[in-house]
């Protein structure tokens, strides 16, 4: 289904969502950052950014979440399932790269056994994406097979067609239902071919050359050389929309507690360390290799999908300016040798 949405109607769109019982999450300016955050009012929405600082991931895999609660009394333990974590919401104004990260991660959370915390949230949330009309030098979606107006993962895709008008394309049934629910705020589709204002993101490398090289170069000097500047923090993995590694810890008092799932990252020294002190990934080079391998080889082999959507967030936040697309360009060059 195609429609148009005028910027002036954002207000009634957001009010409409509220009336229908949706929690609305949208890009919001907060000092230096633009973050996907809960909004109450359409005028909180920020639209002039390239990409939000946080990824869409945290609405499906929160930085910390309860997976079990329990009470302990003498030697009797009672368990309680967490409730209310999946809230009917709309994420409005996320980017196509972010939206695409969801079907990519569906694969691991549905693999073999189903992680209900992910799946139930996925069901509860409708994604209304806005195509990118600008980009920066860190963006490389086109290099990993995406596009600034890619539809995968979105339920509805909005694309700017004039200064204050967006083309509305429904992608899924869920999206179609949402548009129908709020029909009055949308206008008829444009007559003729609309002028889609979509950024032109240049390709930085040929993804086809990456995996074959990785297959043969588990041992290579580039891993150490490139990662000398890495400080071993988790910023890259935490802002990444597709990094999904987590830790499970218990937090409790004497009589009750929670089992909690927290973001964890492969760049931390402690990530793989055994209790004995032995660490299979003992150097930052090995950990950096794991990050690249996981994204561009292991995940591809296992789930037939690259675990990177080219959003460039990791490169933007890296304290030491480790640039992932630069790494991939180096690999491409090496592969051509």
């Amino acid at each position: 289904m195609e429609k148009t949405l005028n910027k002036n109607n954002f207000d009634s769109f957001i009010t409409g969502l509220k009336k229908q019982g949706y929690k609305t999450i949208a890009p919001k300016k907060d000092n230096k950052l633009v973050t996907l955050d809960e909004i109450q009012d359409a005028n909180e929405i920020s639209l002039d950014h390239v990409i939000t600082n946080n990824s869409i991931k945290e609405y499906f895999l929160p930085k910390t979440e309860k997976i079990l609660s329990y009470t302990i009394e003498k030697n009797k333990v009672e368990m309680k399932e967490p409730e209310g974590f999946a809230v009917k919401s709309v994420i409005f104004g996320s980017r196509p790269c972010d939206a695409f990260s969801l079907p990519v991660m569906d694969k691991v959370f549905n693999w073999d056994c189903v992680d209900k915390f992910w799946v139930e949230r996925r069901e509860a949330v409708t994604i209304v994406t806005i195509s990118c009309d600008k980009f920066d030098s860190y963006c490389f979606c086109t290099s990993v097979g995406l596009a600034p107006d890619a539809k995968q993962g979105s339920d509805v895709l909005l694309t700017k067609i004039s200064n204050d008008e967006y083309l509305v394309e429904t992608v899924t049934e869920k999206g179609e239902n949402l548009v129908k629910e709020l029909e009055s705020v949308f206008s008829d589709p444009p007559s003729g071919t609309p002028d889609r204002q979509v950024a032109t993101v240049e390709k930085k490398f040929d993804i086809g050359k990456i995996k074959p090289w990785l297959d043969d170069n588990f041992e290579h000097d580039v891993w150490d050389e490139f990662s000398h500047k890495c400080i071993g923090c988790g910023a890259c993995t935490f802002v990444c929309p597709t990094c999904h590694c987590f830790d499970i810890v218990d937090e409790c008092s004497m009589t009750k507690g929670d089992r909690v799932k927290n973001w964890d990252g492969c760049q931390f020294k402690m990530f793989t360390m055994h209790t004995s002190g032995h660490n299979p990934r003992n150097t930052q080079g090995m950990r950096w290799r794991q990050r690249i391998m996981h994204k561009f080889k292991y995940y591809v082999e296992k789930f037939d999908s690259t675990l990177c959507v080219g959003c460039g967030r990791c490169s933007r936040v890296c304290p030491a300016d480790m640039n992932i697309s630069e790494m991939l360009e180096i690999i491409e060059t090496e592969a051509g040798k």
């Binding site: 929160p62 910390t64 979440e65 309860k66 609660s69 009470t71 967490p82 409730e83 209310g84 974590f85 809230v87 937090e251 409790c252 008092s253 004497m254 009589t255 009750k256 507690g257 929670d258 909690v260």
Partner: protein, 165 residues
Amino acid sequence: MSKAEAKPENQFEPKIIAFLCNWCTYAGADLAGTGRKEYQANVRIIKLPCTGGIDPLFLIKAFERGADGILVSGCHPGDCHYNSGNYHARRRWNVFRPLLEFCGINPDRIQFSWISAAEGGKWVETINGIVDAVRELGPFESYQKLNTIGPETSGGAADASSETG
């Protein structure tokens, strides 16, 4: 004590955690006890070898677990059983206290004192003082609110206020 008798109904009873050095203040508190001196029963004592061994994290942990107020007390300067433990402690609190204040924690919730083994009376006074002060401030709800994880509001992990006693 007359105060305890005149206790109005539903009066808020703050939980005070006292970190005491073994050699002076703990002995002082003991003296107050053997001297049958009464003081408000809101204090839970944690005895440590020396104030010099009290990590600021102890204080944070106490607040996490439901304390409304904290007392840190040890030997008077010059009287430390380990010579200089209390001097080091004093340096620590000199910077840590303003840090907490800077973060919006009322400094009256964390009090410091020197009470010797002979000062049973000062112990009674100090405890009554901090209990009254913290009662005035009310429960440390803003900190205890931090204990809720996720959307479920009932029963967060360290919703421990019911069990510090």
